[in-house]
Symmetry: C2
Subunit: 152 residues, 2 copies
DNA sequence: ACAGTCCGTGGACGCGATCGACCTGAGCCT
DNA sequence: AGGCTCAGGTCGATCGCGTCCACGGACTGT
């Protein structure tokens, strides 16, 4: 993981569809060299996936909510997680420090669907309570930040 | 925006580096037809960007925090937003319903850097208070959900 | 000094991206 | 009804890219 790898990561975070030839020009190597480096970044777990970022409203997901979850005392955290995992509307799931064990980011089409989701969450074994905040608008999301060298 | 466009969006959300030829095979059209459709999805604002998803720890961003922001009464929300926008460690910014006007997702390398960020946030004109929760681990993030037709 | 390893380059070749020409069906006007 | 127009597709051709391979130079340890 040297400076060139970092540039490659940064370039691909900005535009995942850059061709190897173009990447090669930007970092000053040949295309095969870049191909090999990117392959290693992928198999080494640095690059997890390449995703198209979609305007959620345009695919019928106009409602974004952030939901804090308080677990029952004695709940099995793994089971709770598994229950969350099968709910497709939960786009992100963080395990948190604090009273609320989880913070979920969910996207649904309508407030009615959000209501149903909250009901399902409250019924989930191990969940003591939920606290939902609605996002009125997303100013930006997953903005890549300039990379810095990893801890030495 | 028909069923084929939805499939294309779904395929590209799963893997943004799919070739047009491969997309064409999957949806049963020719490559040029897919090329044109994807171009329209991009210029029509459905597809915002293509991004490589990176394991944050590997690029020296091991600390994730979610920060709620309460505005001063009479603060200029646009100015506050602008101040947030120039802080690169703020990856996502939602404008929320509730006492806290904003919810920020920030990633930094160390707790010390998080502390500095919070200080800067509290000093920002228009910010009355902040409330920070630390994510101990990210279970998943930005998982694409199966697309459904947009509201009719 | 030598051999092994790592990481790069250059060449070759087949596939994909992309352009232009043409085709077809739906909707509309006369 | 018949014909125009347009949107959106296919086909064919060309050119550049992805990818495999053989080769070469720098570094390292012995």
């Amino acid at each position: 993981m040297d400076a060139i790898d970092l540039s490659l990561v940064e370039l691909l975070r900005g535009n995942a569809r850059l061709s190897y030839a173009e990447l090669a020009r930007q970092v000053g190597l040949s295309a095969p060299a870049v191909h090999e480096r990117v392959g290693k970044l992928e198999s080494g777990g640095v690059i997890r996936a390449y995703r198209a970022e979609v305007e959620p409203e345009t695919i019928g997901l106009g409602v974004t909510a952030l939901i804090g979850i308080v677990e029952d005392s004695g709940a099995d955290t793994d089971d709770v997680l598994e229950a969350f995992r099968v709910m497709p509307e939960i786009e992100s799931c963080y395990f948190m420090a604090g009273v609320e064990s989880f913070l979920l980011k969910a996207r649904v089409g309508t407030i009615a669907e959000l209501e149903q989701l909250i009901v399902r969450l409250n019924r989930t074994a191990g969940v003591a309570s939920t606290r939902t905040s609605i996002a009125l608008s997303t100013k930006w999301e997953n903005r890549p930040q300039p990379v810095s060298p990893p801890p030495a």
